[in-house]
Symmetry: C2
Subunit: 138 residues, 2 copies
């Protein structure tokens, strides 16, 4: 007989799957339609754009920050590079590694897409912390 807390945990997980599926689906669809980016690509650009400061990161670090597997990231960066949004550059310190630089076009695309992503996060109910989506003032 299953533990009660196990069952409520399973329920929480099921709910999380639902929220995640709905949100990712909307993000993928709308970011793709409006800016030609998948949600993963957006996340990668976000990591490069923001906290990194110099706008460059090595593959491994980038993979951890964007929660992507090594092979998924390798191909994703390939696509971003093909589209001119990032650039691969040799790493002098460790020649096995590669620096991924965000390009001007990449920054522009990210800045253009950011409001779209933020708006979806605001208007889709996916997290208890999200305030009621529509609160017509007054």
């Amino acid at each position: 007989m299953p533990d009660v807390s196990d069952e409520s945990l399973a329920q929480s997980w099921h709910d999380l799957m639902g929220r995640y599926a709905r949100l990712t689906c909307r993000l993928d669809r709308e970011l793709e339609a409006a800016h030609g980016l998948s949600s993963s690509e957006f996340e990668v650009l976000q990591q490069l754009h923001g906290p990194a400061g110099p706008g460059k990161l090595r593959m491994t670090e980038l993979g951890e920050r964007a929660h992507l597997s090594q092979s998924a990231l390798s191909r994703l960066v390939g696509r971003l590079e093909r589209d001119g949004l990032v650039r691969r550059a040799a790493c002098e310190a460790d020649r096995r590694a590669v620096w991924i630089h965000i390009t001007d076009a990449g920054r522009a695309r990210y800045q253009e897409a950011q409001p779209t992503q933020r708006a979806i996060l605001r208007t889709e109910t996916w997290c208890a912390a999200v305030p009621p989506p529509e609160e017509p003032a007054g």
Copy 2:
């Protein structure tokens, strides 16, 4: 300049992505290795096994409950059927629809896999509600 609450929302979403990625990855790997099921297949069997009572559900209903798209579900059910875990049956009331029945083998597989899944949900930190994973008594 971005709204502060937007940024914290983006941070929450990023965290959710991380938790989701880690957990799904572990579930997929361990359920696959131990029971030959992906996490989505497990979820589908769970929906058929549990709340449905009679152990049958129509595709559309099943897709909503398991958070799967129509085409993903169609093929997933195809795989489960090939493996003898579910059975498709004509729906007399609406001949466009299809009943998906869980088979005895399907129930057995689910019951065998459930403890594996529950254990992962318990031991992986993915949600504030999860108690500290390892609490060596005393």
